[in-house]
Symmetry: C2
Subunit: 700 residues, 2 copies
């Protein structure tokens, strides 16, 4: 599963709070991505007689890591060792690889600190505290402001809160919008930016079974990657880290998942969900399939092409499979009638009482805003979302252009990604020395210019200007050959020099971004205002709902730390039982069943070391914990707070959890901690790492 | 290149005659897909001092074969031996293959007549005569009839002409619409339906380099397949067959291609071409990429899946690469301005003379009809074109349903595919014992039902009826599990029993076809009338053009026999010369360069037999002959009428020949006859076949 994807330019689908839906469902299953400051104590007590102490919660919270480029992780040693998924770390492996040294394919193992390799730009965030700032945010927004003015007032106060917090604490400070505008919480993070690669298996072990087995179960994947956080040139001293359980979890055991689910859409109104089904998802699927075909075929042309495109291709295939599953869920005959009935029932209650007339009317406001957003969604995705100009150079060029324009403005009036509190992260990203391949840049840019021309029409005035009288292929070649943004020193110079330096550089890709920017910004402005309009409408619905039902449940996922719980549990499929666990021996059986043909061929190291292994060791397992993309790399812990596994996937039936949770068949998939130890010890000869995991510290 | 695709349900893009464009271009290059009854004698005389005799033309014409399922071929022995491409024959190889015997992958060689294997349903047509019936067709259409009435009158007279001819001669008789309605010619064919497989190389030799090298040059493909036509249980006695040249052609030599180009769009008006660029091609590309992703990933799940889907996947990939190339051509900055200028210049001439006012007005009529067709094109493609119900069962079910309704009608009033003259071919196809795989049927049907639902909207009343309250996947499974149309005896019973038997069967897939049919037929009716309206408009333009410029040139391709000419000639690319020929030795060099990784791995037989081969033997070559999809398998002959090669592809630069010919870089790609002999003798130990080719008859 991918949620390790960051799309800084993508216009996000707006999510609306229909709290009663969440509350209704939560009662019947171990559903929920709970806030750490509103944990599900009653549910845990009632169902599992478990009452987490504040210390238990704080320890788990502070052991968890947000991988800023997308994904989750956790500390597992007081010496800064941390574990995430291979597919979360893969982008860093890619950046460190060259034609002759392919860490993604071949893996890596540092047997000493000296062998650990510093990543090019990797930010890890650990949540230190949460503060409710809802009252201050809302107080700053005038009651009668129109949506655009309200948006600007809200942006301004949020930027001020973040800046104050950063100045006072030195911690990264993000105000998070919860319940689609029902609440605003300030999250403060400790940042780690010196992160070094410690261990990765080869891709074939990490992603055994490839696309065919992705989102399936049974599975046999060692989808892990170990890094170490450093401070001042030495391994960071970590107070909160998870004790590693050598034995893993038992079948039926209560377990917790603590991580950073990216985005769910469980609380949409029917009108919004219809838009997702009829427009957003089909459009994204179309783009993903287009990209998959492009990269698959380019990769087939040479081994080096395949290496260069591997991560991007994986993300396209992974996204496509997830999105196909979601569309299937949206087309399933039960989903919409249930949503529609719940909405109709609630509206009926609203219409019975005059004081809720505003809430009732809010549904139409949401529908209107949805319609306005839908009307510009394709243009928005192409121009502001960047899908018409897909390549690293375009993204960098626009950041430079906008940085020159935004940075002189007051903090509270800038596009949010240029606010003071986000500056360090933005610069880390912008000045990354990660390699950029001109052939791949031309390939993706030419394809997306073609997409732009066919979607908006060749005769569209902006398209004509973008293509400048050339074919998409020739124009892409000219742009990529002509730009200097691949040179980090050049980026630094322009960033420091501001708008004048950016203009003077006369760089073709920056000038292309300048050409597009007025319309892109205009689209974004409309989007921001409509989003605010929706938020206000939903706030009205939320107020009515709180009055009628009381506050309960959990908000839709927002890429911030959440706690889920559930049990290790198999399921039934096509009349047959699917057990909760696979074993290391199952890997060999699967390879044999599939005649050892790719993507089911045994990784060489595993073939060689078979006789050493205890084949009965649990390998992967499923649980009913509520997860979504972004949870990749989340630790699975038991009541004792011990690390018993790591989330790396969900099954196909769980793909619809974006819209509605069900544990009938849907499951979260993890690597068992026992398999991690067995593999490190016996397949990879990484005994010192296994020792560090078991002891919670390096061998001294 | 694929043109061996038949899409009986696809609404075809309408093509309009702008004769002056063809004429203008023809003057500057060896352009042209010439009619056998209007050969380019003057051009050949003027440029190459070559004057083909009537006997030369007749011999070539009658040596050529149309593969009714798509593609071209030619006789090369008096004993019925014929040669086509591997990718043309592949569908027949697939139908004869099973899980344990894969002729596509492993190839086949019959060393005796007894070893030859009868194909399940393969019709070969040899053109015996051409008769101009324009006057009779036009006389039957009342001058003042509206488009629908005109269409019906024209359909009626064409059916009558075909039926008369069939009854009189026993030959398959097709009236062909040329110049988009400017002329109607009756083509009579001798049919061969007992066709046996003689030789095929394995797919890796036939399609070496796979998708990456498809439409590229240099190439190293043995893309051939040998069959033998039988009559009365013995090899057919063939009067006209091509003498096989053991040496192949020389660089710079004049050569001819005689085959069945499928469809070109060189004579569209600008309005029509814009529709192709902005709607038809993007829509088709979207469908092809969707299908490629679906089948690629299903194929990766097991070797048997891959075998079952192989042909379909090849066609999707091949079509996608061709269509991507065409779109690039349509987006190239020179194509549209040139077309627009030519049209504007001609319109200016028309407007200068009042007698041409009808021709001038005709452009608007074409544009109006194009607009009407565009407005229903997606619904048309999904419902009448069958893209919403992709699977063999759906096609068979609809044929049975419509046969029951159409066959009782008078011949001249039926949907054209049910006319008496097409009956034998239709029945050959309908009663084929070719295997149908339920898993693949469910896969493609579920995917296309999803496509239908997202394109037309889930709430579309017809979509609701089609899905019947189920998810696309469940509905597809229910339909495929429930249908009996895979049983040929069942098909025969329903076909013989007519509409009552079809109704009584209550087969779920037939009932689905019945549900869709009223709207599908209505869409087709609109399409037929608009097509007629366009044809009438274009006839007016053509009359004006003939008056102003005189009749010359060749009509757009229509899947019927055409003669092209050109020279064997390399080209320049990125500043480097691409020689006209590759050699057998080049195959080994290419494999080595690509580290022998798929799809560049050497075929096992070629690896083993390398030392036997004369590595200097020419392998593939390019020429300036004007071809398009459908020409696959066309013989390349020299002035002496000898077989010197076989067309199997064009290069990327030739992909825009659909819209405009240019021999600046565009080339047709062939297998050299010398390579065929060398491979048969030394790689495949098929000496008796090599002997038959060289001697034009079997060894006796």
């Amino acid at each position: 599963m991918t949620m390790n994807e960051r799309h800084p330019h993508l216009m996000k689908i707006i999510i609306v709070p229909l709290l009663f839906v969440a509350a209704a469902v939560a009662a019947s299953a171990d559903e929920g991505m709970w806030l750490y400051n509103q944990p599900p104590r009653d549910l845990l007590q009632e169902r599992y007689q478990f009452n987490p102490t504040d210390a238990w919660l704080e320890h788990l919270q502070k052991s968890c890591i947000r991988v800023n480029s997308g994904g989750s992780a956790s500390f597992v040693s007081k010496d800064g060792l941390l574990i995430t998924n291979h597919h979360v770390g893969a982008r860093k492996l890619e950046e460190l690889s060259t034609k002759d040294r392919d860490y993604v394919r071949d893996g890596f193992c540092a047997h000493t600190l000296a062998e650990e390799i510093q990543c090019l730009n990797l930010e890890l965030d650990v949540l230190e505290s949460i503060e409710d700032v809802t009252a201050r945010v809302n107080a700053a927004v005038p009651k009668e402001a129109d949506p655009r003015a309200a948006f600007e007032a809200r942006r301004k106060v949020i930027a001020a809160i973040e800046k104050e917090s950063l100045d006072q604490t030195g911690l990264r400070s993000d105000v998070v919008t919860l319940w689609q505008g029902g609440a605003y919480h300030l999250y403060r993070y400790k940042r780690y930016t010196d992160v070094r690669l410690v261990f990765a298996p080869g891709a074939q072990a990490a992603f055994y079974g490839g696309d065919p087995d992705n989102f399936e179960f049974p599975r046999y994947d060692l989808d892990i990657c170990l890094f170490r956080a450093y401070e001042n040139g030495a391994p960071a001293k970590i107070a909160h880290y998870l004790r590693f359980s050598p034995g893993g979890p038992r079948d039926g055991e209560l377990v917790f998942v603590s991580g950073h689910p990216g985005r769910t859409s469980r609380l949409l109104t029917v009108a919004e969900l219809e838009n997702v089904r009829d427009r957003s998802v089909p459009f994204q699927l179309n783009s993903l399939k287009r990209r998959e075909v492009l990269l698959e075929n380019w990769s087939a042309r040479s081994g080096e092409n395949a290496r260069r495109a591997k991560g991007m291709l994986f993300r396209a295939k992974n996204g496509r499979k997830a999105m196909d599953g979601r569309l299937a869920g949206l087309l399933a005959p039960d989903l919409f009638p249930a949503k529609a009935k719940a909405e109709a029932d609630f509206k009926a209650r609203l219409s019975a009482t005059p004081e809720f007339s505003e809430a009732l009317a809010a549904y139409d406001k949401v529908a209107d805003a949805t319609k306005t957003l839908a009307a510009q969604s394709v243009r928005g995705a192409l121009l502001e979302g960047g899908q018409g100009f897909e390549c690293e150079s375009s993204g960098i060029a626009r950041t430079l252009l906008r940085a020159g324009e935004e940075r002189p403005k007051p903090n509270g009036e800038r596009l949010r990604e240029f606010s003071d509190s986000r500056r360090a992260s933005l610069e880390l990203d912008l000045f990354s020395e990660a390699p950029i391949y001109t052939d791949l840049e031309k390939l993706t840019l030419a394809d997306s210019l073609t997409f732009l021309a066919t979607e908006l029409g060749v005769n569209d005035p902006l398209v004509q200007k973008v293509l400048a009288g050339k074919s998409p292929r020739d124009r892409a070649a000219e742009l990529i050959d002509g730009t200097r943004v691949r040179d980090v020193a050049f980026r630094k110079k322009l960033y420091a020099g501001g708008a004048d330096a950016v203009s003077a550089a006369n760089d073709p890709v920056i000038e292309l971004a300048r050409l597009v920017d007025p319309e892109a910004r205009a689209l974004r402005k409309v989007s921001e205002a409509q989003t605010e309009a929706k938020a206000q409408a939903h706030a009205a619905i939320a107020r009515a709902r709180n009055a009628l039902l009381g506050l309960t449940g959990y908000p839709d996922a927002t890429g911030t730390l959440r706690l889920s719980f559930g049990v290790v549990k198999g399921y039934e499929e096509n009349g047959a039982a699917v057990p909760a666990f696979t074993s290391l021996g199952g890997l060999y059986a699967r390879a044999s069943e599939m005649k050892n043909q790719p993507p089911f061929d045994l990784p060489a190291a595993w073939e060689k070391r078979k006789s050493r292994l205890n084949l009965g060791t649990p390998f992967n397992f499923v649980s009913t914990c509520d997860i979504i993309g972004g949870n990749s790399g989340s630790p699975v812990v038991n009541r004792a707070g011990e690390f018993v596994g790591i989330i790396f996937d969900g099954n196909l039936q769980g793909l619809t959890w974006d819209y509605a949770f069900s544990d009938k068949q849907g499951r979260a998939t993890s690597v068992d901690s026992a398999a991690i130890l067995e593999a490190l010890n016996k397949v990879y000869d990484a005994r010192e790492l296994a020792h560090e995991l078991v002891n919670g510290q390096r061998n001294r």
